[in-house]
Symmetry: D2
Subunit: 134 residues, 4 copies
Amino acid sequence: MQQFDFSVRVYYEDTDAEGVVYYANYLKFLERARSEWLRQHDLPVSKLASQQHLIFVVRRVEIDYLQAARLDDLLSVSVVVKSLSKAGFVLEQQIKREDVILSKAILKMACLDATKFKPVRIPTEINRMINKEM
Amino acid sequence: MQQFDFSVRVYYEDTDAEGVVYYANYLKFLERARSEWLRQHDLPVSKLASQQHLIFVVRRVEIDYLQAARLDDLLSVSVVVKSLSKAGFVLEQQIKREDVILSKAILKMACLDATKFKPVRIPTEINRMINKEM
Amino acid sequence: MQQFDFSVRVYYEDTDAEGVVYYANYLKFLERARSEWLRQHDLPVSKLASQQHLIFVVRRVEIDYLQAARLDDLLSVSVVVKSLSKAGFVLEQQIKREDVILSKAILKMACLDATKFKPVRIPTEINRMINKEM
Amino acid sequence: MQQFDFSVRVYYEDTDAEGVVYYANYLKFLERARSEWLRQHDLPVSKLASQQHLIFVVRRVEIDYLQAARLDDLLSVSVVVKSLSKAGFVLEQQIKREDVILSKAILKMACLDATKFKPVRIPTEINRMINKEM
């Protein structure tokens, strides 16, 4: 099982009037880490869409907010593949500040045709790449 | 069981390069509906914070993305109370376009002290108000 | 000279850790008002793109931040056409809370082909519609 | 005259249904670069607020949108000090993709008391630090 980690800095744009990161914005951090995980495999999302005509979309999120992130925090966002099927996969993602887990999430991803938005099989080489990480 | 509904229009700011609403932004729509649900009970979030020194925060979200919302869509976002305890409550929220459910979510809410961010009891009158909706 | 007004409520998503609306988010409010101004003329932005194959894009913004908007504020956002040329127009937009002007902006808009992103002439009927408002 | 540069990657969250970065989001990129410029001077915005009880706020933005940024673009955002007064300063910021300027902006910044939101003098040591960059 491999873990990919990506650093995210908290700016004013991410916070709200409570002085902490707004709850929807953690999902942006999760998506940045997923995009970088794909880029690392030479599969940036723009190339996936233009060359393979595919997009990976989120079908379901379960996220627990354990502690709040604050302005200027340097966070670490992880991506771990939990399972893989023909047309999708499940990821576990955590957001940490040093050793403290702030949020943890399980995401169900689906592979869709980029224009018709219909489920399609994950191409063999991508399937193999995701499978190797489990 | 009472249901509160709030209308949300989709603007460019809500969409992404796939031409649909970005997955994190549905959580903004859910929060707008919750804020309006509280305002309807004469409990706008700013008053809750300044007068009662309380905030309601999201502890956990489970959200299923069934169909995508698009630019200019007029959505209806619902709030239904599912359960209530001393320091929190569970809400079910759906996002619809006409009769089609686009997303459905379960949210675990907690009542916190607005500065210390520590769990506190929901004040009696607010507890009663929430209880009436179940 | 006609003025179009649109109401915007401030939610947590709009605010930042200073307790006020984040400076970039006022531009979202301005855009919502412009979208509603077009919708009122039976020209919602999605129809403009799909049927006329046109988009109106912002070429330049000058915005003055005079006073801050806060959580739960009910704002009024105006749209006034200042000038019109073959391929663009200039708008003045203000954001008010009751009678207090919080921000005022001048926006230079251009009419582009929706896929090539090249400047095109504003179609006669739309030009006439915008011209009537001056 | 010194120039500070900061890299920003474009993610789905930044784009809109036109396939390009949403116009308000460029202001987020500008603010990230300003925050990093201050951090580099050992003045992260959270420390500025908590220790010096100060915030730097944007009073006016003039921004020209010359070309669009797109998904996965790696941008470079610059900060250059143009002028300095007792209670504020003027910055020039540009957003580039390689050698192409996508947007350029002039921002009028003010120094405020972090709670009263009233203009205050920039402390001597910070004034000196900003002055050195001109």
